[in-house]
């Protein structure tokens, strides 16, 4: 079937099995882009700046432009250096260009659709002055697109209505808000506990709010600010955005928390020495337990693994309900501790308890089985299909459970 788009491009609907052999902009790709723009609240007359990185697939960018223009937006695409280019040009750690910074304050909506196009400066670019000015003084929405490749954009992750994710998030956050304590265990031996603060819940699990708000779309993560946390964490991976020597380790790093402070970092994990060094070279809050976050998106996955760049496939890993990460350093939630480090350390197949009741059981988010949740999902399709998790690729997490 061939369909004409508003821009006159040819659209081949190749069906649901076409992801691996797509040519140009398919219907599924466009559905992913349209879903994104709907939940980014793009509408008529809105000035949209889409930041992309050099070398990124043109079909991904074009699909976003088409979907935004279909909604009547005025779109400008800015192509900047992406993080993956740093491998070709080592040492390129610099601020975004002056042109880019100026462009940000002219946009109503900034969509960072690149492979970390704003990310040459480090994990906390949202705290940079230029971003504060764009968001606060000019009221620009800042939206990070997680549809980084054609495969992701056309996938169920990209096309699933965010209403479903926001409803999952609402139910999960509501349970956490009413709790006092949390505990996380894993088959690898992690056993950590902390107090919950309802004001410290954050993440990408809710609709976009008022001007200046920021959100990742599709997102699907709920985060907490641990308080008075204790226990032993066996971390199996480190977020690639902070450039560890090896993202997915074959042996874990042992982190001992004592009143929210990493008093011990040890073990045979490939990144242990690197992590200790990051603590030593970080500021005085680098060892603070700044975040505990887990995925809630049943369709999230390591799309493109292992051939895609790590930055691309790992984005989907951390929205999976069977992964959870704890950050050393800067607190992501309101009222937290400030640090120049924010290093996410990952575990998987975790069990998460709130006040002793399981919220996640060995990587399975129990809210997905809730009859009320299933009834809600049925408004958008078959709940069995929508809420069923895709399996993790074999061999992604490498630590052995002896």
């Amino acid at each position: 079937m061939v369909e004409k788009l508003v821009h006159g491009a040819s659209l081949e609907d190749e069906g649901s099995g076409a992801v691996s052999q797509m040519k140009g902009i398919t219907l599924e790709l466009l559905q992913g882009a349209r879903n994104f723009m709907k939940f980014a609240k793009i509408k008529e007359q809105v000035e949209v700046a889409i930041l992309v990185s050099r070398g990124q697939d043109d079909d991904v960018i074009n699909a976003l432009v088409i979907a935004a223009e279909e909604r009547g937006a005025h779109v400008t695409v800015i192509r900047a250096r992406g993080r993956t280019e740093r491998y070709n040009f080592p040492g390129l750690i610099e601020e975004p260009s002056r042109v880019l910074k100026k462009a940000l304050i002219g946009a109503d909506v900034i969509i960072d659709a690149g492979i970390a196009a704003l990310y040459a400066v480090g994990a906390r670019h949202i705290d940079k002055e230029y971003m504060k000015i764009a968001r606060s003084e000019y009221g620009a929405f800042f939206i990070r697109s997680e549809l980084l490749s054609k495969e992701i954009m056309a996938s169920e992750f990209g096309r699933m209505p965010c209403d479903v994710i926001y409803e999952i998030g609402r139910r999960v956050s509501s349970m956490i808000e009413q709790g006092k304590t949390a505990r996380v265990t894993t088959p690898l031996g992690t056993d950590i506990s902390f107090n919950l603060n309802p004001r410290g819940i954050m993440g990408s699990f809710r609709p976009l709010n008022m001007p200046g708000d920021m959100l990742a779309i599709p997102g699907g993560r709920v985060g907490l600010n641990p308080e008075h946390g204790y226990g032993i964490l066996y971390a199996e991976a480190i977020n690639p955005m902070v450039e560890p020597p090896q993202v997915l380790m074959t042996k874990p790093i042992k982190i001992v928390w004592d009143d929210n402070w990493a008093v011990e970092i040890s073990g045979e994990g490939e990144n242990t020495e690197w992590l200790v060094q990051m603590m030593e070279t970080g500021d005085r809050n680098a060892r603070w337990w700044g975040e505990c976050m887990f995925g809630i998106h049943p369709k999230s996955n390591a799309f493109g693994y292992p051939s895609a760049p790590t930055e691309v496939y790992f984005t989907g890993v951390h929205s999976r309900p069977d992964t959870l990460h704890n950050a050393l350093g800067h607190s992501a939630g309101a009222g937290g501790v400030v640090s120049n480090r924010h290093i996410d350390t990952f575990i998987h197949d975790q069990t998460l308890y709130v006040d002793g009741d399981k919220l996640i059981d060995n990587g399975h988010l129990l809210v997905l089985d809730d009859p009320g949740m299933r009834e809600f999902a049925s408004r958008f399709g078959d709940p069995d299909q929508l809420l069923r998790m895709s399996p993790m690729p074999e061999g992604l997490f490498k630590c052995r459970r002896d």
Partner: protein, 127 residues
């Protein structure tokens, strides 16, 4: 809070509300900023789908759509006169927003529009 300062605040917010940029930014939203100055609820700024209204006292409407701004009259005066950015006042601890619905950024945007108008007025007066 002095009556004169209340008038400065009211006049500026009314002018901000008449700008095209403000109308565009607040087009879709219903929200209220309650200003507590020197420890007393002095006035509120109500946004209602593109219309901005200023009134004295305590906002009588739904509490869940209200963000609370706490400051002192010296800081408020400096901001309204374009001499201090609210972002800087916040960093200095002189301006605190207890924001609901992620509404804090929008108030900074409105006050930036106001600051640009005040600066234009000063330049025009000098000319």
């Amino acid at each position: 809070m002095e009556r004169e300062l209340m008038k400065v605040a009211s006049d500026l917010f009314v002018r901000i509300g008449k700008t095209e940029e403000c109308r565009r930014k607040i087009d879709d939203y219903e929200h209220t900023y309650q200003f507590e100055v020197d420890g007393k609820a002095e006035f509120y700024v109500e946004l209602n789908r593109g219309v901005l209204k200023v009134a004295p006292g305590v906002y009588p409407g739904e509490y869940t759509k209200v963000s609370l701004v706490k400051t002192d009259s010296g800081t408020l005066r400096a901001i309204l006169k374009g001499k201090l950015r609210p972002l800087d006042a916040s960093t200095q601890g002189k301006w605190v927003i207890r924001a609901r619905n992620y509404s804090g950024e929008l108030l900074y945007t409105l006050l930036r529009i106001g600051r640009e108008m005040v600066i234009e007025d000063l330049l025009a007066a000098q000319a």
